[in-house]
Homo-oligomer: 242 residues x 2
DNA sequence: CGATATTTTGAAATAATTCAAAGGCAGTGG
DNA sequence: CCACTGCCTTTGAATTATTTCAAAATATCG
């Protein structure tokens, strides 16, 4: 007898590891590994919320679009994070692959059934949901209270925390190296400022020797203490998707 | 035999109505009605998350405070909303009564036990959590993308939606009358602007005949269509606490 | 290597903040 | 009941952070 739920892996399967039920087996049986190329949508706005994703690799931007063309990125999701939490049949957000993405798709109804029959699993899932909420609260604090340079500093801490906690190989030590797979526009739409402001904030941090860039998408955090002073708490609340 | 869980009422009890388990009985047995006077804290920052509240009456501000004195209000909570969702033993937010508040306090451990033994109840609770998350996402969009006047307009829609949906007597029709139990400073800290900016935004809306005030804490929404144009979607996602 | 998109930098414009003062309201005590 | 006190709100003027507009520099991709 093979351990079905091990064959694709992923964070959801790990969360379910110590539990057992036919519905859980069914859920992981139905899980399918899917790949998305850069720019492809995992979920489109207003689409029915048929699937729930567990990201294995790559980065996804979760965004809410205004009718007038404005866009707010709600989260950058990468390995070990979830995508597709919704209260209604229609999902109000747009999820776009920023890099090639690999994810496991689960049927929402199978997930619901597994949660409703496996309380221990549901409990872990509830904690994951709460972490996502707490991360949103951090985000609200950041865009509500911090200046442009502070927002960019806190963004670097946000990425660093996620890259460490949700590394594909599992949680690891935080490093001083941060990859920025998204464009300046994506960062701007996440932080509620313009591209130019993001660029100027990076230039300011470079000029002061606080960070250094090899190219515009990989950054070394030189003066961590200064970054923490600017960007807030030690680090952001860990979270597991949205 | 009396129906225990009916004796205090509240939204949590309503959510549990159609389910039955000893742990659920225990939870509602342990629920205690508590009152808080204006300015009192229901939960203090860093305190252990021993209690979970179901608000019956009054308004609570849920805030995150920065070490440098900045404050971001994450939500205004009133009747039928929950307070005290946390992933860790320590709660990072401060919950303050803005008016006299009546709430039912439940022990967190009893809540956990009830959720872990009553899947149908856990399912409803998960939906409530998801609604809170979606409301946070609306909030992020508002402070990340909208101008000051737009933020204030969307704030009025937010209050109106909550006052209708979470009225103590149960959901009712939305009215054109909105009560603002909080100060201008509270509104400012919710929207990520200053008191003066909030005040000027209200003045602008008054000057244009879009809203009208009898006193500074009760507002009539005159031109709903204009308010919706400014404040975004039809209305905000309903939510049930934080 | 050339063409296109992204990022950076500069200068001018603007929305929001800061600083300052006046107006309104609520509660207290004479 | 009225005056006084303190707090909250509104309005005004000056300042500033961020945006907008514009162009140059750099990176990316076929």
């Amino acid at each position: 007898m093979t351990l079905r739920r091990g064959n694709l892996g992923g964070n959801l399967a790990e969360m379910a590891e110590s539990f057992s039920s036919p519905e859980l087996d069914r859920l992981f049986d139905e899980g399918r590994e899917r790949t998305f190329s850069t720019g492809e949508h995992l979920i489109t706005e207003g689409a029915s919320t048929e699937y729930f994703y567990d990201i294995l690799d790559g980065t996804v931007a979760l965004a809410r679009n205004g009718s007038d063309g404005r866009r707010q990125i709600l989260a950058f999701l990468s390995a070990r994070q979830f995508l597709g939490v919704a209260s209604t049949a229609r999902y109000p957000n747009l999820a776009t692959a920023l890099t090639p993405v690999t994810a496991i798709s689960y049927s929402r109804s199978a997930l619901e059934r597994a949660l409703n029959t496996t309380p221990g699993f549901a409990s872990k899932f509830r904690i994951a949901l709460t972490l996502i909420l707490e991360s949103s609260h951090d985000h609200i604090y950041t865009i509500g209270q911090r200046s442009a340079v502070e927002r960019v500093a806190s963004f670097l801490l946000y990425l660093r925390a996620n890259q460490a906690r949700f590394a594909a190989e599992g949680p690891r030590e935080k490093s001083e190296h941060v990859e920025l797979p998204m464009t300046r526009l994506d960062i701007a739409d996440f932080l509620g400022v313009t591209i130019e402001t993001v660029s100027r904030a990076f230039s300011y941090l470079k000029r002061r020797g606080i960070v250094s860039f090899t190219d515009s998408h990989s950054c070394e955090l030189i003066k961590m203490d200064r970054i923490r002073e600017l960007g807030g708490r030690d680090d952001f609340t860990q979270h597991r998707g949205a």
